[in-house]
């Protein structure tokens, strides 16, 4: 696949790195010579120095032959114009990142808009992030929530600790609600797909997959946590405001702390149901006074990593149990987990993951990566004549380390059991570790006679 990436900020670099690794042809454009030099030194891709929205540069990058153009510079207008120009020059698809609130109906659609002004996909990572945080707050203790198949299926991650239930029980002995499967377990940094005899231990991270309605009940099997009724949000930026609005809509009692008085006032004006505090989120007295320690969920979503980290840590100290932060630098996520913060999300990683979903939209759609790429969740179309067709699952020899999470038969979603049968034309959502990927794919390829 021929991909042109405009803008080599952190998102651009991450996209370039992944694409190079997957052996796509990549041309990277940036106006900053240093960024170009960095990519030249570290990646086997072609680079062009210049203004990404200029027709000349795009022509030089041969966008007319491109399968995908990704515009992720720091300026919305450049991204939109580059994506539009690329389309009019003959690129097959284009995707642009925007950060401002003025573009289309992004706020209602949850961060992604298709076909806006003729650009195939326009997305706002901050809104996507707010949506993901809202889902986590509404779950029963999940630290990660991933939507699949346009919200019809979800994957959630649960971090088990000493207070979790059903530790040490074999998975076969646990009765899960219909339509939920244990997809993977991460133990000591290693991801595996469990069998019926495996048990769960404290410290494990469990990935559950299934229908969203059923997942809450499945989460209850392990945790005592309920959806957050009282939420504290530190930071009233785009993420904070949208998160607060989403949670308030679903009936939670939301307290938002914002340092800037004007901003605080504006949020209160537009969202009257939210309690808005004017103050510093890292002020222990303030947190104590408004009993943040007793709240169900705390999200620190300011633009500064230090403030987020300190706010979350202080809240933990006065008793908050579930905390979430956003981290600009993806490298710091592990440290956040070590410090006891359940959820740490990097907006840039989220953005690049989102971009990569569109890259992979061909024969094999990768929908999400787990644990930094150790496993992938993907969508596979079962083609006529593939070995996987017409055989009950229990007789199918699935490679170790892979799992069929769901079968989409038209509009109907089936969470497979041993007796389920895949028909030609079905779409299968599967999870596979990197090692078992090829063999799983082979099951769904047409047999060559």
């Amino acid at each position: 696949m021929y991909v042109v990436v405009v803008g080599l900020g952190e998102v651009g670099r991450h996209v370039v790195r992944t694409l190079e690794w997957e052996r796509h042809d990549v041309v990277a454009i940036d106006a900053n010579p240093d960024a170009i030099r960095w990519v030249e030194e570290n990646h086997d891709v072609m680079t062009l120095l210049g203004y990404g929205a200029s027709q000349q540069i795009l022509e030089q990058a041969k966008v007319s032959q491109a399968d995908l153009v990704v515009a992720v510079t720091s300026t919305d207008e450049v991204n939109l114009i580059a994506a539009l120009a690329a389309r009019s020059l003959g690129a097959k698809r284009s995707i642009a990142r925007v950060e401002g609130r003025q573009w289309g109906t992004m706020h209602e659609s949850g961060g992604v808009e298709y076909g806006f002004l003729g650009v195939d996909v326009v997305f706002n990572p901050q809104l996507l992030l707010a949506r993901e945080l809202a889902k986590i707050a509404q779950s029963h203790g999940a630290s990660e929530v991933i939507d699949l198949a346009s919200d019809r299926i979800e994957i959630v991650a649960l971090d088990l600790n000493d207070t979790s239930k059903r530790l040490g029980q074999a998975l076969v002995r646990i009765t899960f609600p219909k339509g939920v499967l244990v997809a993977a377990i991460v133990r000591d940094g290693e991801l595996f797909v469990p069998g019926g005899n495996d048990v769960l231990l404290s410290g494990d991270r469990v990935y559950l997959v299934g229908l969203p309605q059923q997942l809450l009940a499945a989460e209850d099997l392990f945790t005592r946590t309920r959806e957050a009724h009282t939420v504290c949000i530190i930071g009233g930026g785009v993420i904070g405001e949208n998160l607060a609005a989403a949670l308030a809509r679903s009936g939670a009692e939301v307290t938002l702390i914002e340092k800037n008085r004007e901003k605080a006032l504006r949020i209160k004006t537009t969202h009257p149901t939210i309690t808005v505090l004017h103050g510093d989120g890292t002020d222990t007295e303030l947190l104590k006074e408004y009993e943040v320690g007793n709240m169900d969920f705390l999200a620190a979503v300011t633009g500064e990593d230090e403030v987020n980290l300190m706010g979350a840590l202080l809240a933990r100290r006065i008793g908050a149990k579930r905390t979430a932060t956003i981290v600009q630098r993806a490298d710091y996520i592990d440290i956040h987990h070590q410090l006891g913060i359940q959820t740490a999300i990097s907006p840039r990683q989220l953005a690049s993951n989102h971009v990569l979903r569109f890259v992979r939209q061909k024969e094999l759609k990768s929908l999400a990566t787990l644990e930094g790429g150790e496993a992938q969740v993907m969508e596979i179309r079962a083609l006529e004549g593939a070995r996987a067709i017409g055989v009950p699952l229990k007789q199918m020899k699935l490679p170790r380390g892979s799992l069929l999470c769901a079968i989409l038969k038209g509009e109907q979603v089936v969470i497979p059991t041993g007796d389920s049968v895949i028909d030609a034309g079905d779409t299968v959502i599967a999870l596979a570790t990197t090692r078992s990927l090829d063999r799983l794919e082979a099951l769904f390829k047409q047999r060559a006679f």
Partner: protein, 530 residues
């Protein structure tokens, strides 16, 4: 910063295996000719077996390196390793390439090493006085094949064949491709390398066909010679023309054929090889025109103008063309007396200009009778060299253009210090860093030339102009040419020099081929300190 040796061993081992395959191919060709009743050369039989023995030894060396080396997959090579790999590959090819000369032709190690390095670096200088009488057919083919492999680059070929190198391949590519900047033609470096090698192979094939046609119908000297012998000469000479190498299968080089047509054809292909290969790619990649019956002529013309625009737009190409035409005219005038008439003078001058500017080193006649004005024209051309990204040696036209432009700017600055100036190469603005690198390159070139001359006068006691000429011809990868004839018994070759001098010359050739930085950077002490 100490490079990981095992990481370096593996690619080097692969290259050795490739060389072994090349030797085996030469042995096979020799065997086929032998079977159909052609002479194998001075020793007649035996050469095939000896070539195979060399191939076996090379396979052994390659196998050992592969066995010892760490798998390259997944591990990212840093620039240090890439640089070391390229240098080691070139040192090793010299040794492996020397095996046939040692085993078959019974040369001494310095002689054989010199001959092999001269082959791979496409210098074309030789230690063999009587080529036809002392080299067997497989060895003759091996000499030409070495030059052909070294022309576009062994490492570039390696990158083209192994697609999984990623950014390490990019670093290695930069260490071998000549010129002040080596840009990628395609998003992946593997594809860029493949494109270059394909173009190179294509031009070689065209030349073989043209030479074959000439030999079959127009050249008197090849009448009555069996077609398969002509094919052998056509292939060998095409290999050494496109690589701007200059090894010949004949004692008198191209002069053997004594034909104006051959001279012109070889000149044209040498000049083609001296052009930046990315220009050919650019010309091929221009908009394709649909050739309809109605506007056939018009479409054809517009295609031609689009294609030629790629060349016309390149400042370096224009400079290259101007230098060629100018020196051709000057040399024609300067050597008019020697040749007697304008046609002969023009014909030989064109050949001389092409062979010198592209650093090929073929000869058509005795240049010993040249007046000194003609000699100095040749001397200047030896410095200039071909274009960046070509197979030619020398300083490269683009560097000369940049040096001239920079000098002009500096001169102006010395009296008008407030003038803001930008150095350009066509539309492209050249950064300070690049200018610095170009100036440094020029300094290193001159410094190595001086130091080398000094050392050779010590080791061999030859006159300064001779040592200077010999050193220059090695550094610019020119090979045979005027200036270094000194030993009466070894005319036009390096046989008379001592073993030490031959190793120094070999080192100079590798320096010139890899353009100094790659090799000299490895001498930095901080690289080897733990």
């Amino acid at each position: 910063m100490v490079p990981t040796h095992r990481q370096v061993a593996r690619p080097t081992g692969f290259v050795a295996l490739g060389l072994a395959a090349g030797m085996a191919a030469c042995a096979l060709v020799g065997g086929v000719y032998n079977t159909f009743g052609h002479s194998l050369g001075p020793k007649d039989d035996g050469s095939v077996g000896e070539m195979l023995l060399s191939a076996a030894i090379t396979t052994g060396i390659g196998g050992l390196l592969l066995w010892w080396g760490a798998p390259a997959k997944g591990v990212k090579m840093r620039r240090v390793e890439a640089t070391l790999t390229t240098t080691l590959v070139w040192a090793l090819t010299g040794f492996c390439g020397a095996l046939p000369f040692m085993i078959d032709t019974r040369m001494s190690l310095p002689d054989a090493y010199f001959e092999a390095i001269s082959g791979f670096t496409t210098t074309g200088a030789t230690v063999v006085s009587e080529i036809e009488a002392s080299l067997s057919r497989p060895v003759l083919l091996w000499r030409s094949l070495m030059q052909w492999l070294g022309g576009m680059g062994i490492v570039v070929l390696f990158i083209a064949i192994f697609p999984s190198l990623g950014v390490s391949g990019k670093h290695m590519f930069r260490t071998e491709v000549p010129g002040h900047s080596s840009e990628g033609l395609r998003p992946k470096i593997t594809e860029t390398s493949l494109v270059l090698w394909r173009l190179y192979a294509f031009f070689t094939a065209v030349q073989i066909a043209v030479m074959m046609a000439l030999f079959s119908w127009w050249v008197d000297k090849t009448r009555g010679v069996h077609w398969s012998e002509n094919l052998f000469d056509a292939v060998c000479h095409s290999f050494t023309t496109m690589s701007t190498g200059g090894f010949s299968t004949k004692d008198n080089s191209i002069g053997h054929f004594d034909s104006g047509l051959v001279d012109v054809v070889v000149s044209v292909f040498m000049l083609i090889a001296g052009v930046n290969f990315s220009l050919y790619y650019g010309a091929l990649a221009t908009r394709r025109h649909t050739l309809t019956n109605r506007g056939f002529l018009r479409e054809g013309l517009s295609w031609l103008s689009d294609t030629s625009q790629v060349f016309r737009r390149s400042v370096e190409f224009r400079a290259y063309a101007v230098v060629i035409v100018l020196f051709w005219a000057l040399l024609t005038v300067a050597t008019f007396e020697v040749h007697g008439n304008l046609w002969r003078s023009a014909r030989h001058s064109l050949f001389m200009v092409s062979t010198t500017i592209t650093s090929t080193g073929f000869g058509t006649h005795d240049y010993a009778q040249y007046p000194s004005s003609g000699m100095s024209l040749v001397l200047v051309l030896m410095f200039v060299g071909g274009m960046s990204g070509s197979t030619a040696g020398g300083i490269k036209v683009s560097r000369v253009v940049l040096l001239a432009e920079n000098t002009w700017n500096q001169l102006r600055k010395s009296i008008r210090p407030n003038v803001v100036q930008v150095t350009r190469l066509g539309r492209e603005i050249v950064s300070e860093d690049t200018l610095n690198a170009v100036s440094t390159f020029f300094f290193i070139f001159i410094a190595c030339l001086g130091a080398g001359t000094l050392v050779i006068t010590y080791t061999d006691g030859v006159p300064v102009p001779t040592a200077f000429g010999a050193m220059l011809t090695c550094l610019s990868n020119m090979g045979p040419g005027p200036f270094y004839d000194y030993f009466p018994e070894a005319k036009d070759n390096f046989a008379g020099y001592t073993g030490t001098a031959k190793f120094i010359f070999s080192f100079a050739m590798v320096l010139g081929r890899l353009e100094f930085f790659t090799v000299l950077a490895l001498l930095l002490p901080e690289l080897w300190r733990r």
